[in-house]
Symmetry: C2
Subunit: 155 residues, 2 copies
DNA sequence: ACGAATCGTTGAAAAAGTCAATTATTTGTG
DNA sequence: CACAAATAATTGACTTTTTCAACGATTCGT
């Protein structure tokens, strides 16, 4: 046995072996930062970012979300959703339709152009995701998604 | 069998059953947003946020990180680290020591007060984390951490 | 020894987030 | 029904965070 109980790792692993590196919040933040950067880079060629991609995805999926639902779902302030939708609507990718059931609310619907662009962007997004998950088996991928869902939707 | 192949869920689940909700990037972003908000709220009573907590954690752990290492590890711009360290140093929780091996670099070290505050803050952080993971078994907790590590440290 | 690279710092500019006020509409209650 | 309270979207002001280029000090490679 070594006479020293605990040896400090050297170089690259010094920080990775710290207490902080075991922290779930930290891992989540760092994983998210890397993933977000990769996604934004890939989506840029379609003139999208992760945010606008998310909005477009929901619109193209015929979810018909109101802006308020969007805000809650994406954890944004309603005023940020206004700007996001403005951008997509100006590009004619998406349309505001006043909800007939509640004329205060706007329901978001993708245009044909929006659906077409989303289909393309989705390809890029998928490719990025596969790249990031290169070290993860498909089973673990699904498992990870399940566990994250528990954190993302606590109720 | 129902004559309709696919039924749209109603109410709360409409968005949760969308394609986007299966997206790992999205789940990561939303889980991170909720976790970060909870952490910040809990750390506020110690005058910290997730960022400053992270820096303090590494300093208190005797990792002796340089500011550049901090920036890479926390995925921040070096200039943001300057501001972060300034704040902690003004409160005498942390000290800049010029690295004897490279006098361009500052190594971060926690003061006794910093270690004491960190110990307290760590309690709050742990409590929050447990709260968030109420629906997750300890085994799954560890599994989640492992999988996140793969995303957070791809190399 | 000397040019190129690196570390921390500064400051400016862009982007993102927060918040209160406003209008239009709906909901709940008498 | 009428009317007060609540809710959806929007706007504008304000703060915080992010991003970037430039700079002095120091180190590295040759």
């Amino acid at each position: 046995m070594s006479p020293i109980g605990k040896t400090r790792p050297t170089g690259r692993d010094r920080l990775r072996d710290s207490v902080l590196a075991g922290d779930l919040s930290f891992l989540l933040a760092r994983a998210n930062a890397l993933t977000l950067a990769a996604a934004n880079a890939a989506l840029a060629e379609h003139g999208l970012k992760a945010r606008s991609y998310s909005v477009l995805a929901l619109a193209a999926d015929d979810v018909r979300p109101t802006q308020r639902e969007l805000a809650e779902f994406l954890r944004l302030d309603p005023s940020q959703v206004v700007a996001l939708v403005d951008g997509l609507e100006k590009r004619q990718l998406v349309e505001r339709q006043t909800d007939p059931a509640d004329r205060r609310a706007n329901v978001l619907v993708a245009t044909d152009a929006g659906r077409a662009l989303f289909a393309q962007a989705q390809e890029s997004a998928r490719a990025v995701e596969l790249g990031l998950l290169a070290a993860v088996t498909p089973q673990d991928h699904e498992r990870l998604a399940q566990l994250l869902r528990l954190l993302a939707f606590p109720d």
